[in-house]
């Protein structure tokens, strides 16, 4: 049983699986993610109805005339709302990760390159931010700033900031101890130059890989905040909030709550696999 474990690991479980299943399987998550982005971009042309305007008409079931996925309690077309609801999910998750990557990465870069007391103090500040459970930190930010698309992005970014700050710090500290950095310093280049031109390019790749793998987490956090009523203001369509609205109709039309959540789950799963693939490549290729 376990005695062949060592050799099998050496062969690389994921690698063998991928080779046998072919490139198609590996491409699938990227394809799904691309479809999500395209659908969100093309929502105005794809959506059969206005996502916000309701009609004083009885709720339509799935597959009824003109409403493929039915309507919600306010007579709004569910398919159209789902398509437009993709937009805040993508904007918030990608925006938040980009923000957290930029801010946390810069913070960690300064901390790791500087070293010494500066490094110590900067990392203790991150520890304190970490003393809040992620979602609690996000809720506090939203409680302070009030709900809006931008504030949700900010809240999710704050909750992810420590991840990037710590990783960037560890990577930068490792690079800063190397000879080429010593050489640059000895040559009289400024600290700013050392940080931006010497250290930063060498820690960018693992940071970007990390960014890909937390997009799913960002999307899930953002969706949870919307579900709690702290996200996008109604009537603007948003997948997380649609689940909440749909929950009221659970006995009549459970699909109204289940469909938007399914989209969130599929998106999160697809980007998780994308992130995993990149991390695998990084681990095998960038082993140095």
């Amino acid at each position: 049983m376990a005695d062949s474990a060592g050799q099998k690991i050496a062969a690389g479980g994921v690698a063998s699986l991928r080779l046998s299943a072919g490139v198609a399987l590996a491409a699938l998550p990227w394809l799904v993610a691309a479809i999500f982005v395209l659908a969100a971009l093309l929502a105005p042309w794809l959506a059969p109805h206005d996502p916000v305007a309701g009609r004083a008409a009885p709720m339509q079931q799935m597959f009824s005339d003109g409403h493929l996925l039915g309507t919600d309690a306010l007579g709004r077309d569910t398919l159209s709302r789902l398509l437009f609801g993709l937009r805040p999910m993508l904007v918030v998750s990608l925006g938040a990760v980009a923000l957290a990557l930029a801010a946390g990465g810069a913070y960690g870069l300064v901390s790791g390159t500087a070293g010494g007391r500066t490094d110590w103090a900067m990392m203790r500040a991150v520890d304190i931010l970490m003393s809040f459970p992620l979602i609690l930190a996000a809720i506090l930010v939203l409680a302070a700033l009030g709900p809006s698309l931008f504030n949700v992005t900010l809240a999710v970014a704050v909750s992810q900031l420590p991840i990037f700050a710590r990783l960037a710090r560890a990577l930068a500290a490792g690079e800063a101890a190397r000879d080429y950095v010593l050489a640059a310093r000895a040559a009289g280049f400024s600290e700013l130059h050392v940080m931006l031109r010497e250290v930063a390019p060498n820690i960018a790749r693992p940071l970007l890989v990390q960014a890909t793998s937390v997009v799913a987490l960002a999307a899930l956090t953002a969706a949870a905040l919307s579900y709690l009523g702290l996200g996008v203001r109604p009537p603007a369509p948003d997948l997380g909030y649609m689940v909440k609205e749909g929950q009221e109709l659970l006995f009549i039309a459970p699909e109204q709550a289940l469909l938007p959540g399914l989209l969130i789950a599929v998106f999160a799963l697809a980007v998780s696999f994308c992130g995993d693939q990149l991390a695998d490549v990084e681990r095998r290729g960038g082993g140095a």
Partner: protein, 337 residues
């Protein structure tokens, strides 16, 4: 080791103080502060000013802060802006509910996550390993609230097996003593409480436990595989130790430490994360209380709840960390710093 504990405990009040200050600043000092929020909900200016004065919100910020810290030291979390109830009492009622849920979720997570992780690590690269990793990935990618609703649809609506809402059926009279149903059932000799309590606990605990099990599975798997690579395992195998014994006595024993740390950290996260499950299932815990307070702009309650959750999180992490150091002899003699 003792020095380490002392050092960490000495640092604890500092951490708690900073956490309390951050909570205060988040809710009072940022733009869109309490005063503006309250002001928008009262039509007559006179009534508004009266209320603001009553709540002490007309004082300068530094003075409010001193009052806040002074109250905290005496264990006073203030009163609800809306109901006027004592926040500390409200926390006393809702926190045990959340702890019950977190512990139950932890059990689910450990059983499922460890079971899957160890099964996958026993034969890395096998079909079972691939399938389990896919399941773990899927569990991780499920939005908690949506998974909870899916459970309600399947187990309450379609199958009718389990209740979907609340902590106890309204037909049951429950006079709380400690607010832990299980303890109260034993203390007051009412075993009939336990059945309905467990029935209500099942779906929320499965929701939180299963969605977090994916992460534990991956870490447990990685930990075991990493350990199996080490030289002493190879030596044991070459000595002719049977594979099962190598797995349980050599690999698992050494991988256990890292896994336990992860579980401790996850428990802390569960305290915060059960917020969502509590809202989905109408479970009267502290997380739901906090979200309701944020939505109704009842800042005294939101502040108290956030503070208590953060403090608990810090404490759980501290205990986990110390337990880890204590359990691993290699870390016991680590020089301070």
């Amino acid at each position: 080791m003792i020095a380490e504990i002392a050092r960490r405990l000495a640092f604890l009040p500092v951490t708690l103080f900073v956490v309390a200050t951050l909570v205060f600043l988040a809710l009072r000092a940022l733009p869109g502060s309490t005063v503006d929020m309250l002001a928008s909900s009262f039509s007559t200016a006179g009534l508004r000013d009266q209320l603001i004065a009553q709540l002490g919100l007309d004082q300068p910020l530094w003075k409010q802060y001193l009052i806040y810290v002074g109250d905290l030291v005496r264990g006073d979390l203030g009163r609800s802006f809306i109901t006027g109830r004592d926040v500390a009492t409200m926390v006393g009622e809702t926190l045990p509910v959340t702890i019950e849920l977190a512990v139950a979720s932890l059990v689910v997570m450990m059983v499922v996550g460890l079971g899957m992780g160890l099964a996958a690590a026993a034969r890395p690269g096998s079909l079972l390993d691939g399938a389990l990793r896919f399941v773990a990935m899927t569990l991780f990618a499920l939005p908690w609230f949506w998974f909870g609703i899916l459970m309600i649809v399947v187990f309450s609506l379609w199958l009718g097996w389990l209740p979907a809402f609340g902590r106890l059926p309204s037909s049951v009279t429950y006079e709380p003593v400690t607010n832990f149903v299980l303890i109260d059932a034993i203390l007051t000799g009412r075993p009939e409480l336990i059945g309905p309590w467990l029935a209500h606990l099942t779906l929320p605990a499965l929701t939180v436990g299963l969605t977090t099990a994916g992460m534990l599975m991956r870490l447990a798997r990685a930990g075991v595989i990493e350990t199996a690579r080490l030289d002493f395992v190879r030596s044991a195998r070459m000595k002719g130790v049977p594979p099962g014994r190598v797995f349980f006595r050599h690999v698992l024993r050494n991988a256990a430490l890292g896994i336990l740390t992860v579980i401790g950290l996850q428990f802390g996260a569960m305290l915060g994360g059960s917020v969502v499950a509590e809202v989905v299932f109408g479970y009267p815990g502290i997380g739901r209380m906090m979200v309701d307070a944020v939505l109704t702009r009842d800042y005294a309650v939101a502040q108290g709840a956030a503070l208590v959750l953060a403090v608990l999180y810090v404490l759980v992490n501290l205990v986990t960390d110390l337990a880890y150091r204590w359990a691993d002899p290699r870390l016991r003699r680590e020089p301070g710093r």
